[in-house]
């Protein structure tokens, strides 16, 4: 096996491991990526990790996929990107396929129904927590609050199409940042 193929194979195994052992996805994967890819294999540096986070946040798609593709590409070009992404997706794919079959078998059991009755209420708590931590990271500006509230009302009560809301707020964010730059000049 030549050097590049070895790298690609290691990328696949590494990201398979990352996909298989991080719960919650996305940001939860960053420390593991850092340990495996920066400290162990030294394929990229800590600065690259910061860049990856910045990129993952400003491009669409799940952070896990974005980082796998980016690290894979930086390390071994297109095939590196392909196999790193395949690696990070595969564990979820296999596990969830199996679970969805098992769940179907058991969903009519009384105990399972009761368990999910309790779980549903608990899950709402998890979403509240996720919301609060996202809110803390969001810039505290009048425009941000306005867009946040508008987004909530448009989706919750006026049932506006979500794509429209996303595109509209991107345009609004762009216009407001341009206006802010003009004012500062």
């Amino acid at each position: 096996m030549n050097e590049k193929m070895k790298r690609i194979f290691t990328l696949f195994i590494t990201f398979f491991k990352i996909g298989a052992f991080t719960f919650g996805g996305g940001y939860a994967m960053i420390p593991l990526i850092q340990k495996e890819v920066v400290e162990k294999h030294k394929w990229i540096t800590d600065d690259d990790i910061l860049e990856i986070i910045a990129i993952a946040e400003s491009t669409p798609g799940p952070i896990a996929i974005n980082s796998a593709t980016f690290v894979g590409y930086r390390t071994a070009g297109f095939f590196g990107a392909f196999f790193a992404t395949l690696g990070v997706v595969l564990p979820s794919f296999i596990l969830i396929s199996v679970i969805s079959l098992v769940l179907e078998e058991f969903q009519d059991l009384k105990a399972v129904k009761y368990a999910f009755f309790g779980i549903r209420a608990g899950v709402l708590g998890l979403i509240v927590k996720a919301l609060v931590s996202m809110y803390k990271k969001c810039p505290k500006k009048t425009v941000s609050y306005a867009i946040m509230i508008a987004g909530f009302i448009l989706v919750a009560f006026l049932k506006v199409n979500i794509l429209l809301v996303i595109i509209g707020s991107a345009i609004l964010g762009f216009v407001s940042s341009v206006a802010e730059l003009r004012r500062d000049d």
Binding site: F93, G118, R120, L163
Partner: protein, 189 residues
Amino acid sequence: MVIYLKLFLTFLKIGAFTFGGGYAMLPLIQEAVLDNGWMSNEEIVNFIAVSESTPGPFAINSATYVGMQMGGLFGAFCATLGVVLPSFVIILIVAKIFDKFKNNKTVAGCMTGLKPVVIGMIAAALLSLAKTVFIPNGFSTGIFSEPSFYISLGIFAVMTVLAMKKAHPILIICISAVVGIASGFILGL
């Protein structure tokens, strides 16, 4: 054939328009599965619990799950491919032009709008999921004499506090399940 194409395109759209991690994808997935009649709000909440207690990103887990439910293994493949493809292609492009992309004012400007709107939209998703959990049969004054309403509310309150104190999601799901089973059998809900 049609269902496979539909799964692929639906998740392609979701993958292309989700910004940010974790639950950022929830509003889009909710809209898509409800509009297509693929899942109910109740099933969505059930699924979030499954996703939280298995490894892997929420996006991949939900694409695989919805695909599997609607079109078996090949359906799961189509949906997952759809949700992954936009990221993959965009990152390949960005990785090549990274230095231009990094300092791009247009991208940064759009992000100042996208970050807050995602929060507002997740809050909207939360509200509609909460309705399904607390008042599954719609609102009526009768709900206040239902023990299940108070149990749900109690579990929600305690688990929110635990989650804020950084308890592990799996722990939260396990406790909620135990309380659900116990109260279900004791009260014969």
